[in-house]
Symmetry: C2
């Protein structure tokens, strides 16, 4: 039976959990705040990994693996870093039946242990740039958790690079931010705003943090990826030095950047509907499912061979491993449909006796439910086109949603009103002070999601004005929102 | 400069560590017993993952991710399991700034937490078989560690399946053992013996453990992969039950199977030589490196365009990402050669001015150092053939080594003598008692690596005889060896 899903309008949070349960994406682990990523959910992570890993390699990076456990003393070497992460650490105090002399923390992120290794591997400018990525699990003990979006353990990738000059480090930081933007927009069909975090919101230990932010259907923002220019903070804390071309010993400039399984939560909240998961075709682990329909053995003998022909045709234009045949013949058609709807499969291809007679299938899109009759000989051309159309439509729909939910305000009163009544992104002027930023957050829960960059597609935010709170000068608007 | 490598004959253990250091495969982590897998080593793991993951999927398995932390109480639910793993556990006692009410262990393996989840996911025979694999890090606190072979943290895959009948579980256990055998022999060029472990050597909690064992160059055996039929031990401990086709509630039959980063150590010790790493072409992350050689700008202008033509030709017959161009023109040729020799790259293609004149390259095999002149137009045909020949030769060499180091003995005196003087596999009769097995281990350090299966390629082991220690009847010889 199809699992019941609470409508978004009724209870958005419950809807989110229901979509996860109905799609069998994840489950609660026995340890509070941790999750099990079930095969359907993990297949999404594998798709994300495959595309990003290729992009990382094309941009010159290699993968490596650094240890899970970090001496507690490492975390304290960078002052801001320890302040940011100390409250969230999980600590191993006993191992092999003995108390440890120095407690070990489970990595919340790996700047410290990687910094320690880089100091041993880097000695000359010839060793730079060092461009390494790691796919790993990390642990940040969370009080309020939410599947995919905030769990104590999560999976991610963390890139860590070291460079000769500040310019190169900044270029790398922005290049990887752009890799994330392209990936989110091109594959996940999630339009994002790329920008810079404020000092208050930046990564503990970074000089500058850049981010990509996406707007969810409940009009809250989600930080989908971050890229940090760490300057010389970690190279000084961990003594990462090199002899430069003039034979002078200098500290390297480092960066780090990451995205996590949180992307799956963002993907879900961007496209899914009250019937469950909706997946953009390019990232869908199963792109099409064939559903043979028959009422008796006579029809079965007609339908199954034709369904096999359909499968062969699809295997010619799509990865055969990404096409499924539904064989749960003992269930009613509606139940069979709902199973695949809730798993977010982009196309359902119904094949009944009348379709066989007409030499065609009925293709039903997951997002719009639009039906199209497609002849067997046309499948190789029409199915990929239909999938690409769906990909484009999902992106366009999400972009229109963001545009409809981006508001300009000039006064703090108006800000509070729009935030409460409309939500979404609010572009407003701010005097640049952490104090005002903190006050706005305390009074409204809204945070500055980003300070637009030159290429952030927000022309309406450009140009000077006056801080909505203090009336002081501001060089341009920043983006506020309630956020996950 | 080429890193010095201690010859095998002088100090085998040091040779092993030197090959790892020279090939930049791994490094010691700051936490004792843990390692950092460097890019060259990790690329090997990625190759291993890619091939095995595809095989797992082709045999019907899907991937998922289960949590790192397991409640300590879970480990104690299966009596043999806790006995086996308790001494090696790393325990988190503090998290988020507080002492935990129940300590959490870092998974040493995931049967328990997966059993807990399976009990929730499985309710009917329709949910079976459940065929899930996980790629993950695990932790077993070790006193005596050795890079890749035995480290406190290691990377592995663990398959966990549940079935309706004991027959199906046994079939799955043997099927995955065979996947490992095929992979080891076909890709890693490591001939293995597949067999059953004795009761004493089996996995804590299994009914039966099967293994593939490989012989290293120091004539010690290495357990390269294991596949366990867990019977109903875990399904009873974790209450994994289902309604069968007759509507009766039964406990499922489960299996688990895994290989780890230990394979990299085994690969190294099977093929490498006193100059460093030797990699079978099918698993080598870099299959060929082009080395342009010139003494002046005039020669450079001649050589580089030709080297680019060579690269294009190789890109046509090999994955272009797996071909490298050596550009360290400021170093002496010998140093440039040694860099790639120590990284185990199967083919080195030298291109000097005379080669350009002759329209050819000099291809040098890493294993035999055999040189072959190959014309530019023939590269697309000859290079893949050369790589396949090298793959076959490495396997044949390792197989001949194993055959030359497999001995039949009939008395315990002879056993001790052969073990001390020759090493290798010793096929001997044993009465099947754990007591005798323990005595042999205590007196000689040799263990029973496996009890041959019907299809184990050891015809000389078949047929009954008398236990070399007690003279009692034995149905067939078993394989003894000193082991890692």
């Amino acid at each position: 039976m199809a699992t019941n899903i609470t409508p978004r309008a009724e209870n958005y949070s419950q809807w989110y959990l229901d979509v996860i349960a109905a799609g069998q994406l994840a489950d609660h682990a026995p340890v509070k705040g941790c999750m099990v990523i079930r095969p359907t959910g993990y297949a999404l992570w594998e798709e994300i990994q495959a595309v990003l890993d290729r992009r990382f390699k094309e941009t010159g990076h290699v993968n490596a693996y650094f240890p899970l456990l970090i001496p507690q003393s490492f975390i304290t070497k960078e002052a801001e870093h320890v302040e940011g992460f100390a409250p969230e650490l999980a600590v191993v105090t006993r191992a092999g039946g003995k108390e440890l002399e120095e407690p070990l923390v489970i990595r919340p992120t790996s700047e410290t242990v990687i910094g320690h290794m880089y100091s041993q591997w880097i000695s000359s400018w010839r060793d730079l740039p060092l461009l390494i990525n790691q796919w790993a699990n990390v642990m940040r003990w969370e009080m309020r958790t939410r599947m995919f979006l905030r769990t104590s353990e999560f999976l991610w990738q963390e890139g860590h690079t070291a460079h000769e000059t500040p310019q190169e480090a900044e270029e790398e930081t922005l290049k990887m931010l752009d890799v994330y933007r392209e990936f989110l927009e091109g594959h996940l069909a999630m339009p994002v705003l790329a920008g810079r975090k404020t000092e208050r919101e930046k990564f503990p230990g970074a000089d500058r943090t850049y981010c990509v932010e996406a707007l969810m259907q409940d009009k809250k923002a989600l930080q989908a990826g971050t890229s940090h220019n760490l300057g010389q903070n970690f190279s000084k804390a961990f003594d990462i030095t090199f002899l430069d071309r003039a034979n002078e010993r200098l500290h390297a400039h480092t960066t780090s950047w990451g995205v996590s399984t949180r992307l799956i939560g963002g993907l879900l909240m961007t496209h899914s509907d009250d019937d469950g998961l909706v997946l953009p075709p390019r990232i869908a682990p199963v792109k099409a499912v064939i559903i043979p329909l028959f009422k008796n053995d006579e029809e079965k003998a007609l339908v199954l061979p034709f369904a096999e022909q359909v499968k062969t045709a699809l295997g010619g234009c799509l990865d055969p491993l990404k096409v499924r045949m539904d064989t749960r013949y003992d269930q009613r058609p509606a139940e069979r449909y709902f199973h695949w709807i809730q798993q977010g499969v982009p196309l359902r291809l119904e094949v009944g006796p009348r379709d066989v007679a007409g030499g065609q299938v009925c293709a039903v899109r997951r997002d719009t439910r639009a039906k199209a009759m497609i002849g067997l000989d046309d499948l190789g051309r029409e199915i990929p086109a239909l999938l690409e159309q769906m990909q484009a439509d999902l992106y366009a729909k999400a972009l229109a949603f963001r545009q409809a939910n981006t508001h300009l305000v000039d006064t703090y009163e108006e800000f509070k009103q729009v935030l409460t009544e409309k939500g979404g992104y609010i572009l407003a002027h701010w005097n640049g002070s952490e104090e005002v930023e903190a006050r706005i957050k305390e009074e409204t829960k809204a945070t500055i999601r980003l300070v637009p960059l030159e290429n952030t597609p927000l022309p309406q935010a450009a140009g000077p004005g006056r801080c909505m709170v203090t009336g002081e000068p501001s060089p341009g608007r920043v983006v506020f929102a309630l956020a996950y």
